[in-house]
């Protein structure tokens, strides 16, 4: 079952760089064409930075990997030009239900609020996302994807890195000012730098089965503790496109990975779960998992992102989502540094911000794992006591943890200018902006996040005084109309309010009444220039 069938085949092509007498030099080389590497490369290319993207394979294979993409990730993918195709293909969902035995303990709604372009989540096989990203990458003339280019050596220098690369036609070297290592959980580049990847290993084994069937289950996330069809363990059922259902069964620490994958073991389990036989197996694998991270994500001119930098358990959909959020955090900073608009030290804030996010994700996914797979008799007692109390007491319901689903991080960061005024609303300093339905100046509907794009932007609510000066200013009521008043509510906007938004759409500063000096200072601060003379 575990030989991956090829779904999309790409071709190795000889690059002119392979015929040069000395290594060609590129501003950025991204290693690894998974979702994180592709997003990083696309984002950089869209920001005008030429990128070489290397991958050791030349195809996208089948197999169960990430399936859940969260709202913030979809907003990023929208800016990168691939959200529409993902939404069209994906299964949109926002409801989750948690059961114990046959009984529903509770249901949750991840996005109970209208007025956002993107849904709470979509489910989509990772290969569809990768395919959409590869197609988008092909549209960008300054993005050069090289398939079957395997990095076999890495030499760090003060001002860059030399990579040795193996291809079907022999090896060659490339120089890069910056290397982004997005080469996955088993990162070869991490190994080449001899970096520790420390954390917690979990013993429990889980079975993933992707099953094709015509089911009448709704597109919701259903999670069972101690299900009637799988005594004493846990189970997850989740819809994917193409009538494929993700089934995730806890097997316990002693399960025999090989035996459990055999169809004559898997099929009866699933028959018992679904109550019928009308399904075919698309994919089966048994996995264990780790929660671990690099101590630092930036090592000289090599920057780690995604699973290469940190690994989480699958509960909560925090792997691919956090990796894509790494990509977005890194791309604008790297583009500013390469363009000479920000000092190299700006990349330290990538390390700070995304390390904190990784810790948050590892914390959540570790705590979910503790609850889903208790490791001692007493852990199990606490878990079962919580489930039993959940029927009677609200506090226990809130302790039931079947995976806390990925939410974007709010950065406690030196790039933010601390609030001096009082603010309510859902916008938070350091967090991505909440979306809102707007109209453009000529009356066309446009979402706030679409209007923002990927540039540093000031949003200003007029109060009769001249609007502030900045590289890019959007004035509410002129450039953007707020027809439903949702912008005003979510941003607690009053006449004179001004908001400074980072290139990754996180809120960097806000004022009830801004002065040109405070805006200029906050803008310099975003670029890590705070304290340096203008």
């Amino acid at each position: 079952m575990n030989t991956r069938k090829t779904l999309y085949q790409f071709g190795y092509r000889r690059s002119a760089d392979q015929d040069r007498p000395s290594p060609a030099r590129h501003p950025v080389i991204v290693v690894g064409a998974g979702p994180v590497g592709l997003c990083t490369a696309i984002d950089l290319a869209q920001r005008g930075v030429p990128v070489v993207l290397l991958d050791d394979a030349d195809r996208i294979g089948e197999g169960s990997r990430g399936i859940c993409y969260a709202k913030r990730t979809l907003e990023i993918l929208d800016r990168l030009g691939v959200a529409a195709s993902c939404l069209e293909k994906g299964v949109t969902w926002k409801l989750g239900k948690v059961f114990q035995r046959e009984e529903q303990l509770y249901a949750f709604d991840l996005l109970p609020e209208d007025g956002h372009k993107m849904p709470a989540f979509i489910n989509l096989q990772q290969y569809y996302l990768e395919h959409a990203l590869v197609a988008r990458a092909a549209e960008l003339p300054n993005l050069d994807i090289r398939w079957r280019n395997k990095v076999s050596g890495l030499k760090p220098r003060n001002d860059g890195v030399t990579l040795s690369i193996e291809t079907p036609e022999g090896s060659y070297d490339l120089d890069a000012d910056w290397v982004v290592a997005a080469d996955g959980a088993r990162s070869a580049l991490r190994g080449m730098l001899g970096l520790d990847f420390k954390g917690e290993v979990f013993e429990d084994r889980f079975l993933i089965a992707d099953v094709k069937m015509k089911g009448d289950f709704p597109p919701e996330r259903w999670f069972w503790f101690d299900p009637p069809f799988h005594d004493g363990r846990s189970a997850l059922l989740h819809k994917q496109p193409d009538d494929v259902w993700r089934i995730d069964l806890q097997l316990g620490p002693d399960a025999d990975a090989k035996a459990e994958q055999a169809p004559d073991r898997v099929i009866p389990r699933i028959r018992q779960m679904l109550g019928h036989d009308a399904f075919t197996l698309e994919w089966v694998s048994v996995y264990t998992f780790q929660c671990r991270r690099l101590e630092r994500f930036v090592h000289g001119r090599v920057v780690f992102a995604g699973d290469a930098a940190h690994q989480v358990s699958p509960f909560g959909a925090r792997g691919a989502n956090s990796g894509i959020q790494d990509a977005e955090n890194l791309a604008w900073k790297l583009a500013l540094v390469i363009g000479g608009e920000a000092p190299e030290s700006l990349l330290d804030t990538y390390d700070v911000e995304r390390s904190a996010a990784a810790d948050e994700n590892i914390g959540h996914s570790t705590r979910s794992t503790d609850f889903i797979a208790p490791r001692s008799a007493q852990e199990l007692r606490f878990r079962d006591a919580t489930l039993a109390l959940a029927r009677h007491a609200d506090f226990a319901k809130r302790m039931v943890n079947s995976g806390r689903l990925s939410m974007p991080s709010t950065y406690e960061t030196s790039l933010s200018t601390p609030d001096e005024d009082e603010w309510s609303g859902s916008a938070r300093l350091g967090a991505p902006l909440p979306d809102a339905p707007m109209h453009s100046g000529n009356g066309e509907p446009i979402w706030l996040l679409e209007a923002l794009g990927g540039e540093e932007t000031l949003i200003h609510v007029p109060n009769g005084s001249p609007p502030p000066c900045g590289k890019r200013v959007l004035v509410i009521g002129q450039d953007l109309i707020d027809p439903e008043g949702l912008f005003a509510r979510r941003f607690d906007a009053t006449p004179g309010s001004t908001y400074l938004v980072r290139p990754d759409q996180h809120l960097a500063a806000r004022w009830r009444h801004a002065t040109p000096e405070s805006i200029a200072r906050a803008s310099r601060r975003i670029k890590g220039l705070d304290g340096e003379p203008a």
Binding site: Q378, R381, F382, D384, A385, F395
Partner: protein
């Protein structure tokens, strides 16, 4: 400053202790352990303060060490 109150708070501590004992009468060890687990969760939520909970855990761990190192310490008093 300690957030956990360790001074006696029940007007009649013997009655409170008795209530705990009575709740476990007739239960198997396994049932007792389950009951205690529920009780800990309920009381922890009632406290609702992570710092107090950590202090309570630390105190409980300390008493666990002492129970282990001097298992017969209470045997002289009847």
């Amino acid at each position: 400053m300690s957030a956990l109150v360790t001074e006696s708070r029940f007007p009649d501590p013997d009655r409170a202790y008795r209530a705990l004992i009575e709740a476990h009468r007739g239960l198997s060890d396994e049932q007792s352990a389950a009951l205690n687990s529920s009780l800990v969760l309920i009381l922890a939520n009632h406290i609702g303060d992570q710092a107090v909970l950590q202090e309570a855990l630390a105190l409980a761990k300390l008493s666990l060490e002492q129970t282990r190192s001097t298992p017969k310490s209470s045997s002289g008093r009847h």
